[in-house]
């Protein structure tokens, strides 16, 4: 079923007319209200009036995550705070996350996009949605929640964690749709199994999984273990949150980008050149309906390609393929974004600890395990074991406090971390995604 049949199945010509009208309004607003965007126009020697067709968007400079950080916390907001009704933030470098705001209309737009997404993923009004995305500053929980209510389904706001209790709820309440990160979904199945509850006997029909990369193999694994149809959802808080693009359960072959709200481009991450449909590169978004936090040519760092072929589900919106990687060194650990530089900042802020480290990511069962190996330098070394263990604990705690991710900290000998051409290898990702 299709939630917004008029827009989701709109012929391309009509869609492009709407896109251009909305783009113009966004550019005018950005230019008038956000000093950063005005400077971007000026740097390119343009004014919004110079953008006369959709292709002209390519003449504008890109916006990067660093630009958002430079304008921390509210510098990118295009409306006064009295019009902002919601603030979310994604994990960033120590003490400096990326902050995004929403007007009442933005929240409503987002809820509609999530309602579209949930329905594309198989949900209807009659469903009970077990929403195990984390609630809070992270956009996952509240995004799915508002979408479920908009759709008219019943939502269980269970959030992440407390897994055994979740299993009891799943057994007793009989939810039919599961929304979670794919790794947490597998973890739920394992815990259910330990508790003697067969996931396959529960009432789940569809699972809507996102916020971290997952492969076709993992889809097969989840569908087999959980006894449901697993579909992929995509989004990022800078653009709006989950609900930027959604896979339809009919085809399960790429995610429809809601192009009446976001204009996607694929670029060569090295040169910035725009690539044609089908070619793989970095995904770039321009929001065209957002009021509080418009983004113009925002570089997501996600690597994928676009597929314009018609889809069996009837939606006309272009599909992005599953994200295959990143054009930077960001890791996603159990749904949390982690940059090696953040770990480095945590270490640098500690006395005596030198930032000689390596991150090792493994997947044990279905959960991501982050191990932070820290070389023991002479300044941090002690002849007492308890002092060294205390240091391990302190690093673990600081990483948890600053990044919100649990890591196992392991002290290692100075030469233990492999160096290639004198440069330390900072990340070893052993996950098979």
């Amino acid at each position: 079923m299709i939630y917004d049949i008029e827009y989701e199945t709109m012929p391309r010509e009509a869609l492009e007319a709407i896109q251009f009208r909305r783009l113009k309004a966004t550019l005018d607003r950005g230019y008038a209200s956000v000093p950063f965007y005005r400077k971007q126009f000026e740097a390119a020697g343009l004014t919004p009036g110079d953008i006369q067709c959709l292709q002209d968007l390519q003449r504008l400079p890109f916006t990067t995550k660093q630009d958002l950080r430079d304008n921390y916390p509210f510098g990118m907001f295009a409306v006064p705070m009295e019009n902002v009704v919601r603030i979310h933030a994604s994990s960033g470098t120590t003490g400096q996350p990326t902050v995004v705001g929403y007007t009442a209309r933005d929240v409503d737009t987002w809820a509609s996009l999530m309602a579209r997404s949930l329905m594309a993923g198989g949900a209807t009004r009659g469903d009970i949605i077990h929403n195990a995305y984390g609630y809070g500053l992270f956009t996952g929980g509240l995004g799915a929640h508002y979408g479920a209510e908009k759709l008219g389904a019943s939502v269980i706001p269970v959030s992440g964690g407390n897994t055994k209790r979740q299993v009891v709820i799943m057994k007793d309440f009989g939810p039919t749709i599961l929304t979670a990160t794919p790794s947490y979904a597998l973890h739920l199945a394992e815990v259910a199994d330990e508790m003697g509850v067969s996931f396959r006997d529960l009432k789940f029909k569809y699972g809507i999984f996102g916020a971290e990369p997952w492969s076709e193999n993992m889809r097969g694994d989840i569908e087999e273990k959980l006894g449901l149809v697993a579909v992929d959802i995509y989004g990022l808080s800078e653009v709006i949150g989950p609900g930027v693009a959604m896979e339809c359960h009919e085809a399960k072959k790429g995610l429809h980008i809601f192009e009446d709200h976001f204009i996607p481009e694929i670029i060569n991450p090295e040169t910035g050149e725009v690539l044609p449909y089908g070619e793989t590169g970095e995904l770039v978004f321009t929001s065209i309906t957002k009021e509080a936090f418009p983004v113009i040519r925002y570089r997501t760092r996600d690597i994928t390609s676009l597929n314009p072929e018609p889809c069996i589900c009837g939606r006309t919106m272009v599909r992005m393929n599953k994200v295959s990687g990143r054009s930077d060194d960001m890791l996603i650990i159990r749904g949390v974004n982690v940059f090696p530089s953040q770990i480095e900042s945590v270490l640098m802020e500690m006395q005596n600890v030198e930032p000689h480290y390596q991150l090792v990511v493994d997947r044990e069962g279905s959960l991501d395990i982050l191990t932070v190996m820290v070389e023991v330098s002479e300044t941090m070394f002690s002849d007492e074991v308890k002092t060294l263990q205390g240091m391990e604990k302190e690093i673990t705690k600081n990483i948890k406090d600053y990044l919100g991710v649990s890591a196992k900290v392991k002290l290692v000998e100075p030469k233990a971390i492999a160096r290639s051409q004198g440069k330390a290898v900072r990340v070893i990702d052993n996950r098979k995604i």
């Binding site: 023991v376 070394f381 002849d383 007492e384 074991v385 060294l388 002290l411 290692v412 000998e413």
Partner: protein, 143 residues
């Protein structure tokens, strides 16, 4: 009156101890006493050697993290209650033992114990007041 001990950080994996002793052998350093404290991930090897500087240099050159700590080598009467008398005395003065281990050689009819106290100065005072012999580094390395 203090003795120098070197400590070496080791990952808890096969062959590490062997490598350290190999490096010391190569450098012609003789180990006088040693103790190993370990966790599931790592260990700290503590050594009294006949040439502290030489041992430290050799290990550092091989890439190990090496520390130097002052410890006390105390003669402990080799009879029942010998160690108890000393510890009891120190406890009464609020001094704690971080760790201790035995020296290989005896000194006359006494055993020699290596102590690392939380307050080395105070411990030294108490032990000497009691009339116990503390063996200085130079003598110890050559014993």
């Amino acid at each position: 009156m203090r003795a120098e001990q070197i400590s070496v950080f080791l990952e808890n994996k096969a062959g590490r101890l062997c490598e350290v002793t190999g490096i010391l052998a190569e450098a012609q350093v003789n180990i006088r006493a040693l103790a190993l404290a370990d966790t599931s991930d790592f260990g700290v090897l503590r050594l009294i050697v006949d040439d502290t500087e030489k041992a430290k240099e050799a290990l550092k050159k091989a890439g190990f993290t090496v520390g130097k700590t002052n410890v006390l080598a105390v003669e402990v009467p080799d009879r029942p209650g010998g160690l108890y008398d000393i510890l009891n005395l120190l406890q009464a003065r609020g001094i704690n033992v971080e760790y201790m281990y035995a020296f290989v050689q005896q000194s006359g009819s006494n055993a020699v114990m290596i102590f690392r106290f939380d307050n080395t100065d105070e411990a030294l005072k108490v032990i000497q007041e009691k009339g116990l012999r503390v063996i200085d580094g130079k003598t110890l390395y050559g014993m």
